[in-house]
C-alpha cells in the first residue's frame, strides 16, 4: 500500500492535518489527545493485558483486539503526556474497524506523512511510529495464534 491508497478514515485524518498550517496542526493533535477514549471496562482492571510501548517518552500502553476479523486498538497514557495521547488517539480512531489486512498494509512511515515532523519534531514523531509497529506486531501474533 502506498500513502495514496490509505484506508478512508486514515486518509481523512492525514488530509485534515495537511490542510492546516503547521501551528494549527498542534491544535488538531490536541483535539485528538482530548478524544482518546477511556479504556473499556474489561481492560481497566487488567493492566497486564496492555503492552507498554518503550519507545515513547511517556508511559503509554496499548492493546489490540481482533473481533470478527476487524481491528480495535485501545490505549492509555497520562494527561501530562498530551502528545503521546494524541498519537495513540490518531491510531485508535484511524485503525478502528479496519480489516487485519488493511492495518498490516498501512505503510510503517505513515506517521511521517502527517505533517507533524515540523510541528512536533522528527524525534517525537518516532513515538508514533513505534506505536504503529507495536500494534501491527500484536495483530500478527494474534492472527498466528
Amino acid at each position: 500500500m502506498t500513502i495514496e491508497e490509505l484506508p478512508g478514515q486514515l486518509a481523512e485524518i492525514r488530509e485534515d492535518f495537511l490542510a492546516l498550517e503547521v501551528r494549527e496542526r498542534l491544535q488538531l493533535l490536541l483535539e485528538f489527545s482530548n478524544e482518546l477514549p477511556e479504556l473499556p471496562e474489561r481492560y481497566r482492571d487488567h493492566p497486564d493485558l496492555l503492552e507498554r510501548v518503550e519507545e515513547c517518552q511517556s508511559p503509554v500502553f496499548i492493546f489490540v483486539e481482533i473481533d470478527d476479523g476487524l481491528v480495535h486498538l485501545y490505549a492509555t497514557a497520562p494527561r501530562e503526556a498530551p502528545t503521546t495521547r494524541g498519537f495513540a488517539s490518531i491510531l485508535a480512531q484511524g485503525l478502528d474497524g479496519l480489516t487485519v489486512e488493511a492495518v498490516l498494509g498501512i505503510p510503517d512511515d505513515f506517521p511521517q506523512g502527517l505533517g507533524l515532523t515540523e510541528a512536533v519534531s522528527p524525534l517525537r514523531v518516532r513515538g508514533m511510529t513505534a506505536l504503529l509497529a507495536r500494534a501491527k506486531r500484536q495483530i500478527r501474533e494474534k492472527v498466528a495464534a
Binding site: 517518552q57 511517556s58 498530551p82
Partner: protein, 300 residues
C-alpha cells in the same frame, strides 16, 4: 531594568539566589512590567493543555535547535524568537516546565549562551504550581513583538565540545544519566526512545550522579546541605574545580549545570551537549563499561 528578585529565605543559602523564584513570588508578580514567563516542556503540547496566565511557550526542539545542523540557533534566529515572545534584552525571564524543570533548565542554559542576563527558574516548575492548586489558562499565546538585538552565541564559557572533553581528562566529569546508562546496560534512559548511540558505557573517570538527585519531593531543589552532600562529599567536587557535565543530549546535564553553577557556586562549569549520542558513536574515543568511573585514559 529588572524585576526585583525573590528574597525568600529559602533561597538565601544558595550562591546565586536571584536565579530562583518561588511559586508564591511568581503568583504575586504575574503581569509585572518587564517580566516575561516562559514555559518549556518535554511534551510539545503540554502548554496548550493549560499554562500560567500570560506565559509564552518556547520549545527545545522546534525553537532552540537549528533545524538542519546539530547545533543551537544563531544570534539572528534567537533575536527573532525572543522578540516574537515579547522578550527584550533587559527583560526578566522566568522559565518553568514539566519533569522537574528538566527542559526549563535546558532553555535557561541556551539563554545563557546568548548572554541573556536576567533569566530565572521557577522552583518546582509545573508540578509544584499544580500541587498548590494554582490556576492555568488555555488562552492562546499572545505577546507584543519587541526588538531583541542580534547577539552571537558565546559557547566558550559554559559549553564543551567533544575535543574539550578529550583535553579535560584529569579534571572532574559528571555523568548525570541513570545508573543503567552509565554502566552500559542501555544507551537510553529507562523508557525513553533510542536516540542512536552505537556504543554503551560512560566517559572514563566520570562520576555518576543522576540529575534527579538534586530534586526534592515537591519538585523543587534540595537544600544547600543536601546538595553539598551529593556533589561535594559524594562526587568529590572541590572549590576551584573545572567541571564538565554530560548526559544523552545535554538536557539533563543542563539541570545539573544549573545546580553546580547557580546553587553551589562553582565557576567554569561546562555542559557537554554532544553528550552520549555523540561520544557513544564517535570513532576512537575511550569508553568504560560497568559501575566504576574507571581511570583517566591515556589518549591514543
Amino acid at each position: 531594568m529588572t524585576v526585583e528578585t525573590d528574597s525568600s529565605t529559602r533561597f538565601a543559602e544558595f550562591a546565586h539566589p536571584e536565579r530562583l523564584v518561588s511559586t508564591e513570588w511568581l503568583a504575586e508578580h504575574l503581569g509585572t512590567p518587564g517580566l516575561v514567563v516562559v514555559e518549556s516542556d518535554e511534551d510539545v503540547l503540554l502548554y496548550e493543555t493549560g499554562h500560567i496566565a500570560g506565559s509564552v511557550k518556547i520549545d527545545w526542539h522546534t525553537d532552540l535547535n537549528d533545524p538542519v545542523e546539530r547545533d543551537y540557533i544563531d544570534g539572528v534566529a534567537f533575536a527573532k524568537l525572543l522578540g516574537s515572545k515579547g522578550i527584550g534584552r533587559d527583560t526578566t525571564v522566568v522559565i518553568y516546565g514539566d519533569k522537574n524543570n528538566w527542559w526549563a533548565a535546558y532553555a535557561l542554559w541556551v539563554f545563557t549562551l546568548f548572554g541573556h542576563e536576567d533569566v530565572r527558574l521557577l522552583d518546582g516548575g509545573r508540578a509544584k504550581w499544580e500541587a498548590e492548586g494554582r490556576a492555568y489558562t488555555t488562552d492562546r499565546e499572545s505577546a507584543p513583538t519587541v526588538d531583541y538585538p542580534v547577539v552571537e552565541r558565546d559557547d566558550a564559557a559554559i559549553r564543551a565540545y567533544k575535543d574539550d572533553v578529550l583535553a579535560h581528562f584529569g579534571n572532574p566529569l559528571v555523568d548525570v544519566r541513570s545508573p543503567e546508562e552509565f554502566s552500559g546496560e542501555r544507551t537510553t534512559a529507562p523508557a525513553y526512545p533510542e536516540e542512536g548511540a552505537l556504543r554503551a558505557g560512560h566517559i572514563p573517570s566520570a562520576q555518576n550522579v543522576p540529575w534527579s538527585k538534586a530534586v526534592a519531593e515537591d519538585g523543587g531543589f534540595k537544600s544547600l546541605t543536601e546538595l553539598n552532600g551529593i556533589y561535594r562529599d559524594g562526587a568529590g567536587l572541590k572549590d576551584g574545580d573545572d567541571v564538565i557535565a554530560y548526559c544523552r543530549i545535554g538536557e539533563r546535564s543542563s539541570h545539573t549545570w544549573f545546580v553546580l553553577t547557580h546553587l553551589l557556586g562553582f565557576e567554569g562549569v561546562r555542559n557537554y551537549d554532544g553528550s552520549w549520542t555523540e561520544w557513544g558513536s564517535a570513532v576512537r574515543v575511550p569508553i568504560v563499561r560497568g559501575a566504576e568511573p574507571g581511570a583517566v585514559p591515556t589518549l591514543k
